[in-house]
Amino acid sequence: MSAEALTRRPIRPHKRARFQWLTYLLLLLAAVFFLLPVYLVLVTSLKVPSEINLASTWQLPSHWNWGSYATAWQAFAPKLRNSLFLAVVATAASALMGSMNGYILSKWRFPGANIVFPLMLFGMFIPYQSILIPLFQFLRDIGLYGSLWGLILTHVVYGLPITTLIFRNFYAEIPDEMIEAARIDGAGFFGIYSRIVFPLSISGFVVVIIWQFTQIWNEFLFAVTLTRQSTQPITVALAQLAGGEAVNWNLPMAGAVLAALPTLIIYIVLGRYFIRGLLAGSVKG
């Protein structure tokens, strides 16, 4: 299933104009449901703390207080840097390894692959609670507990099933004849990968990178159990700030915007690839 399938409009000889106003009404109502929280977040984040009370929640601020963002930025900048470093490194590593795995699993079928591949895939569905205690012990034993590198290693390993799956399905589209022809020309395992497969992988990489970056940026369970104060990613910092009782709500709201912006921008700019990733991440083949 591809994103094109979702965006292409079918030809409709019969336009059904009856009830079309109802269609728009329902769509608008749904759009309000989806956008109300956005309005509330923006409005709250732009109020001064003294102006935020529950009764006037929905009113616009009397004057725009951009200070919330400055304060939130100050508090969150190191955490955002952690998240960025974590997401970039772990995404790059898991994408590269996934590409190699996908190439092998789609073009170098070997006996037993039909058993190995599903066993690999199962790893992306498990509740990570079921590996968390040994993982915690393991990282502590090798001295990576609390460091970003421990979290990176974790995300690379548990990212491998999905990156492998997406690349495997992606490379299945490359005709085997092309590989065969290159082999007759004398290209070996790495030659075929670097001269034929890799150059054709650009959009595959875009899909995988977007997917992995979003997942890792948004992840919480590993982040909250495997890091210390100084290595916290943004999700943990935001949960802590919002979880505190005596807090001015403009700060968590501004923080939520900061935490959401990177993945939102990716979604809006590269939506096509984003959708392709989410279809690939759920529906096999």
Binding site: T7, M97, I104, I126, Y128, F189, T225, A239, A256
Partner: protein, 372 residues
């Protein structure tokens, strides 16, 4: 198949991934299972040791979870997960299908609507939770929204409510479960006989009779607890379900929309020529064709909802008992209370629930692939 040098290289290049996943997935699951059979945490002198001496206690941690009066919270967590999953699935599939059908009716600005419905999927559950926690404050947010157009305000304590509905006795579960299994097997057998396929239906029929027999005899008197213990649906979950549906229904819409776009126009035309009304067209032609999509959406969303953790953490904090779930309890037991053995047992129960959903899914979708 010849073992060329290239083929050996290929296997060697795949090896790191295979080894890593073998250790980090299967090795670690095995280790968690081992921990769940131990007493790690109960012996305070060993709880925080770097390499604690573990004593083997068999399945005690598991039987405690289901029958000890100290573990009421875990049983309520299972009930919470059940209701959360059912309502979350119903919300996502209903809203997702509705939006997809609406968008498929040749609307202007379809791309914009699609972007609006799908953007929450790009957010972290933590972000969604933070936002909706503010939306659902008892004295503000959603509750005073009606006052903007002159209606009385809502007085529901979204996340703080302590009200429990649909209560039932935990001791009634063996009987109820036995009955459900018997009915499911009987249905399976009936469907199998109508298609007339081999040994399967007979086996299912035998299974159904055995389940029914057990339910009506032992099942009626088998009580896991020596006293009545009431569980039910905590209304405090409604807000969390709304937030979860807000985040995930756009994704369901995308799945359905891709499915709708895959149905050839000729098929719809043919149905219309045959005199089908728009309603009949959807009821008898389009919805049946979307069946497989509903199934995979249910599996993907279902396994997410069984594992739900971050959203609850962000909306009510980790310590709010009425909105607790097993994934959260595992975290608290293991990493706050250092009761690692209990945490591991909860994790294994969670794994079994997820595997029951995912393994058949992987099996059927990959088997279909090989055949193709």
């Amino acid at each position: 198949m010849k073992l060329t040098r290239d083929r050996v290289t290929a296997i060697l290049m795949l090896l790191p991934t295979v080894v890593l996943l073998a250790i980090f997935v299967y090795g670690f699951i095995g280790r968690t299972f081992y921990v769940s059979l131990s007493n790690w945490g109960q012996d305070q002198t060993q709880a925080l040791a770097l390499h604690p001496k573990l004593k083997f206690v068999g399945f005690k941690n598991y039987s405690d979870l289901f029958t000890s009066f100290l573990e009421t919270r875990f049983r309520q967590d299972l009930v919470n997960t059940f209701f959360f999953t059912v309502l979350f699935l119903a919300g996502c599939l209903g809203l997702g299908l509705g939006l997809a059908v609406l968008l498929d009716r040749n609307v202007k600005g379809e791309g914009l609507f699609r972007t609006i419905f799908l953007f929450p999927f790009a957010l972290a559950f933590i972000v969604t939770g933070t936002i909706w926690r503010w939306m659902l404050q008892p004295q503000g947010g959603i509750n005073i929204l009606p006052t903007l157009i002159g209606l009385p305000r809502i007085r529901f304590g979204w996340l703080t409510s302590r009200v429990q509905v649909l209560r039932f006795d935990w001791n009634a579960l063996p009987f109820a479960l036995g009955l459900v299994i018997a009915i499911a097997l009987a249905l399976l057998a009936w469907r199998g006989y109508r298609r007339g396929r081999g040994l399967g239906p007979t086996l299912a029929a035998v299974g159904a009779s055995l389940a029914l027999l057990w339910t009506l005899t032992l099942g009626r008197t088998s009580h896991p607890l020596p006293y009545r213990e009431l569980h039910g649906f905590n209304l405090a979950f409604i807000g969390i379900i709304i937030a979860a549906v807000w985040q995930m229904s756009g994704y369901t819409m995308a799945l359905y929309l891709a499915g709708l776009r895959g149905i050839p126009e000729e098929l719809r035309e043919a149905a219309r020529v045959d005199g089908a009304s728009e309603w009949q067209l959807y009821r008898h032609v389009i919805l049946p064709l979307l069946g497989p999509i509903s199934l995979s959406a249910m599996i993907i969303l279902g396994h997410i909802s069984l594992k739900i953790f971050d959203l609850v953490f962000a909306m009510t904090g980790p310590d709010n008992a009425p909105t607790d779930v097993p994934a959260l309890l595992m975290y608290l037991r293991s990493f706050r209370a250092n009761q690692f053995a209990q945490g591991a047992a909860i994790a294994m129960v969670l794994l079994v629930m997820v595997a029951a959903v995912i393994v058949p899914y992987l099996y059927t979708s990959l088997r279909g692939e090989v055949r193709r």
